[in-house]
Each structure stands twice: as structure tokens, then as C-alpha cells.
């Protein structure tokens, strides 16, 4: 697997609590899955995707976890058109 070089903006994943370690009162579906954290930062040393890695976050804190993504970005949008919204207010504005 390709090596990601130190200094790259990356995202790591940590398992904060395994299903067994989680809070006692949880709904069944949540109880079955681990409690997971994602955080982004600059990679401190060369690492491979899926391998342990350390990062420095925007505020300078060091965190470690499994290297999950390289140059994580925001791709959220306005979504596919919702035609039901388009005609709202047209009559009132007239």
C-alpha cells in the first residue's frame, strides 16, 4: 500500500469504546457497535492507510489512531432538487 508522507492532512479513526465497554443503558442497535472517533490533522510520520498513525490537530494536539483518509474534504451540498419546495411562496408573493 502507498506510503503517505509526513505533513499530509489526514483523518484517523479511534475505537473509543468497544461494544462491551460502552455505557450501560443503550438501545439494542447502538449497543452492538463500537463507539468510534474520527479526527483530522497533519500526519507526524510517514504511514500507510489502515496502519497506526499520529497526527497534530489544528490546535497542535497530538492524537493517534488508524490512518483512514488522505486529504479528507467536505463534499456536502444542497442535494438533489426537491421539486416540492419550488412552488412554495409563489402564490403568496404575487
Amino acid at each position: 500500500m502507498a506510503k503517505i508522507v509526513a505533513g499530509t492532512w489526514v483523518e484517523i479513526e479511534q475505537i473509543i469504546l468497544t461494544p462491551a465497554e460502552r455505557a450501560p443503558t443503550l438501545p439494542e442497535d447502538t449497543k452492538k457497535v463500537p463507539y468510534v472517533l474520527n479526527a483530522a490533522g497533519f500526519l507526524l510520520a510517514d504511514a500507510e492507510l489502515g496502519a497506526p498513525a499520529r497526527i497534530r490537530t489544528l490546535i497542535g494536539r497530538e492524537l493517534e489512531g488508524t490512518l483512514k483518509a488522505v486529504n479528507p474534504s467536505y463534499t456536502h451540498s444542497f442535494g438533489a432538487v426537491v421539486p416540492e419546495l419550488l412552488t412554495i411562496g409563489l402564490k403568496e408573493a404575487a
Binding site: 473509543i16 469504546l17 451540498s77
Partner: protein, 469 residues
């Protein structure tokens, strides 16, 4: 520190010492019993007068937001109202605060306090606009910020609105810890407070609520200038209770004692807030009944020993609206008032329409917030996401909608009706929670007095209701 036991139970059991170190407030000083505490003394001993708050907020681009009269919406509402009905609708454009929501008020005093006390940074656990507010205020005060957010389900999927809120925190230079679904957010908050020694910018401290009081004060002053009278009703989106508590307290300080305080939440009844499966089946991440009802009926379920946000102390009425109604009204605001704002902030606008229809034309109803909008935080993003996740989205009567299954967008404004919640039931539910917390036979005069004040009722009402339980 690294040698300490970091397991869930061990960290949770260190809650009190972590809280004390991260806030500098000794709650024991105010606590009178497992139920009662000296609320007003706690609020007054924040050390910040209203003049201080105004000065602090003006330093960091908070407050003095415009109050707009929504003439077109008022006219439109009057056309569907009985003769003589259709109150003037005014809107406080809180999106104008740094970070785009009223939450900047709530974060501003905490940031100032953290700076004054020499903390290096501040931490907040929130999936709402508060994260961006803390990040923005921290940036201006030279503090580091860590925002802990519930973002994605076990598939790694997050709603566009939450993704956007995470992006905004990062834009202000914060470290954002993005979590899967679960109440262990609080555990991670404690752990991170302990690791960093940062200030706990909890939503529920006296600082947070104090910061919102300026909103009530400004509304009273601006409505008096614009209308020559006090507002007849102020509608407030209700979740954790700080927005309502702070605004109502500010109105009272300004002397607007007869203004009706109306809470409003999006009805998400039936969805479990800690459920991994339900997480992406709701289009609102705050301002909904999943927070609004439990926090009203037991405020002390929060990340500080006693909650400064106590909504039933001030609430006169509580309206529920559906997701479809809020999306409709958000679109309507853009089209006829030329104001594009985020849906969550328009929850109270939705309830204000129902109220205005029942009120006389010379009366004034104030919608006390808006929030910023953009990709993700927009009715089109959120409805599109809902549809992709198997939620039925259609036009019709919003009363037919089922949270988590369908969103029904009204066809006409007269289908925006809201639903009144029974205040007596809420107050009774609070009393039951208090009784579970502390056996009734041990309640003394202090407890009865506290409960009466906390529920905005007489002691007689409390005693009478107990005999009915």
C-alpha cells in the same frame, strides 16, 4: 495523568472533580438538597453585570442584531386568519452574530471567563450551532477550541447539516472530534477536559445563560422603539432550555413582565435519540422534542451539577411543529421576505405563524432567532438527504407525518398549525422526576419553594399535584 484509569466507569466517577477544575464554579456552595439549589444566587455570582455582558459581547462581534418586521408574511397570515386577527410578526436576525447564530451569545461569556482565568483553551460537546460559536469566540480570544460532535452512524454516514456544522468549527481553527452515535459524548468530554485542563464551555453554566439574557434585553428595547409597546409574545426554539431561559430572563430584566413566553420544538416523538438506526432518520439535530421535553421535565440531566437553563421557570406555552412545516416556512421566508436562513432557526417562526393567526392585529409576536444557511444547512439538502435515506417526502397535511418515516410538506400556509403541548402534563412529569431523585417524604420547605419557582406555579399547586400522583 496517563496512569489514571480511563475506562467509562472510572472517568464517569471522577465527574465532580473534573467539573470543578474545568469550570471554577463550586456548585456545592449553591446546592441545598438533591433537588433544590440557590438558583438566583448562582446566576448573580457569575460576576458579570448586564453592562459587562454588553461590553464583552461587543468586543467579539456578538449582539445588537437587527429586528425586522416581516410585513409580507404578516399580510399573508392575515389573509388566512379570522377577521381582526393576524398579529405583527417581527424577527430577530441572530444569524448576524459572529458564527451565524444566537449561540455566539452563549459562548461569549464562557470564552471571556476562560481567558480571564488563564485557561489555554475551551471544550464543548455539542452537535448544534454552539460548536461553531465556541470555536469563533475562542479564535477571537486567543484560546484553543475542541468541539466534540456526534456526527455519523455505524455506516459512517452523517447528515449534511451536522457535516456542515463540523466544517464550520474547523473553519474557525478548532479541533473537531467527530463521534459515532451515543451518549458517551459526555464520557469523551470528561476525558478530554482531564487530558487538556481546558475550560468546560458547557451550554448549561451560568455564563452560557447570562450571555443569552442580552437577547431578551435587546428584544424588549427594539420592540418598544419599533412598536411603542412590549412584545405580546416571544417565540423561542426550545431544546436544552438555555435559549428560552436566557431570553426570558432578559425580557424580565428589561421589565417586559407581561410578555408571553412561548416555547417551540420540532416534534420527533417516537425516535430514540441514542439509536444508531434512528440517527439519520431525523432531519433536525436540535430544537426537537428529543431534547426539549426531557430537558424541560428534568433540567439537571446535563454536563454540570446543576443546570442554569431551567425552561419551565419561564415558559407559558409549548408548541410542537412538524419537520415539514418548518421546511415549508423556511422556503416561504426566502420567497416572500427575501431572507434565506437555516431551517433549524426557523422552528420558532413556524410556531409564530400559528400564534399570530390567533392574536389581534395590533399585537406583536417576536421570533427571537435565525441561523445562517448554506450547503448542508438548508431545506433542500436536508429533504434530499431524507429522501435518499428512505424517508417519504411529499406534499399534504403535515398532521399525517410520522417522525422517522415521513415528512409531509404543507400545500398551503393554512396547513401550518402546530400543536399545543399540555403544560400541566410537563410540570407533573417534572415533579415525578424530582420524586424519583429524592423521596417526597424528605422534601422540606426549601424543596417545595424551589419546585414552585422552577415550575412557575404556587406551592399549593405542587402539594395538590403530589396528592394526585
Amino acid at each position: 495523568m496517563s496512569s489514571r484509569d480511563m475506562s467509562y466507569h472510572a472517568v464517569m466517577s471522577r465527574k465532580n472533580e473534573i467539573m470543578k477544575a474545568s469550570l471554577g464554579i463550586d456548585y456545592d456552595d449553591y446546592i441545598q438538597s438533591p433537588i433544590a439549589f440557590d438558583y438566583e444566587r448562582m446566576m448573580s455570582e457569575t460576576g458579570y453585570s448586564h453592562a459587562d455582558v454588553e461590553r464583552i459581547q461587543s468586543e467579539t462581534k456578538v449582539g445588537n442584531t437587527p429586528l425586522f418586521e416581516l410585513h409580507n408574511l404578516t399580510q399573508t397570515v392575515r389573509r388566512i386568519s379570522p377577521p381582526g386577527k393576524g398579529a405583527r410578526i417581527l424577527l430577530k436576525d441572530e444569524a448576524a452574530n459572529a458564527s451565524g447564530s444566537f449561540k455566539a451569545r452563549r459562548a461569549s461569556i464562557s470564552a471571556y471567563e476562560a481567558q480571564q482565568k488563564g485557561y489555554q483553551g475551551m471544550i464543548a460537546a455539542t452537535s448544534g450551532n454552539y460548536g461553531a460559536a465556541v470555536a469563533s469566540q475562542a479564535a477571537q480570544r486567543g484560546l484553543k477550541a475542541i468541539i466534540i460532535q456526534e456526527v455519523f452512524d455505524s455506516r459512517g454516514v452523517g447528515q449534511p447539516e451536522i457535516i456542515e456544522k463540523g466544517r464550520k468549527c474547523e473553519a474557525y481553527g478548532a479541533e473537531v472530534l467527530k463521534l459515532s452515535v451515543g451518549p458517551e459524548l459526555f464520557y469523551l468530554l470528561l476525558r478530554t477536559l482531564e487530558e487538556t485542563g481546558y475550560f468546560n464551555a458547557s451550554l448549561y453554566t451560568p455564563f452560557g445563560v447570562r450571555g443569552v439574557e442580552s437577547l431578551g434585553l435587546e428584544i424588549a428595547q427594539q420592540v418598544r422603539t419599533a412598536c411603542g409597546k412590549d412584545p405580546d409574545a416571544v417565540v423561542i426554539t426550545h431544546a436544552g432550555g438555555g435559549n428560552l431561559t436566557g431570553t426570558a430572563r432578559g425580557l424580565l430584566v428589561a421589565g417586559a413582565i407581561s410578555t408571553r413566553i412561548v416555547a417551540c420544538s420540532v416534534d420527533l416523538s417516537g425516535l430514540h435519540m441514542a439509536s444508531d438506526h434512528d440517527f439519520n432518520r431525523k432531519s433536525f439535530t436540535t430544537g426537537h422534542t428529543g431534547f426539549g421535553v426531557p430537558f424541560a421535565t428534568w433540567p439537571d440531566r446535563v454536563d454540570v451539577p446543576r443546570n442554569a437553563a431551567r425552561s419551565l421557570r419561564y415558559m407559558d406555552e409549548y408548541q410542537l411543529v412538524t419537520q415539514g412545516e418548518v421546511f415549508y416556512v423556511t422556503e416561504l421566508l426566502s420567497k416572500i421576505e427575501g431572507l434565506e436562513r437555516g431551517p433549524a432557526g426557523n422552528t420558532s417562526l413556524t410556531a409564530a405563524i400559528t400564534l399570530a393567526r390567533q392574536m389581534d392585529q395590533d399585537q406583536v409576536v417576536v421570533v427571537q432567532e435565525t441561523e445562517y444557511t448554506g450547503a448542508g444547512k438548508h431545506q433542500n439538502s436536508q429533504l434530499s438527504f431524507a429522501r435518499e435515506n428512505g424517508i417519504e417526502v411529499r406534499l399534504g397535511d403535515p398532521e399525517e407525518s410520522v417522525p422517522g418515516k415521513s415528512i409531509v410538506i404543507p400545500k398551503h400556509l393554512d396547513q401550518v398549525r402546530g400543536k399545543i403541548q399540555d403544560m400541566e402534563r410537563l410540570r407533573t412529569s417534572y415533579l415525578k422526576n424530582a420524586a424519583n431523585q429524592y423521596p417526597v417524604d424528605r422534601w422540606d420547605e426549601t424543596d417545595f419553594n424551589f419546585l414552585a419557582e422552577d415550575l412557575k406555579v404556587s406551592q399549593d399547586w405542587v402539594r395538590q399535584r403530589l396528592t394526585d400522583l
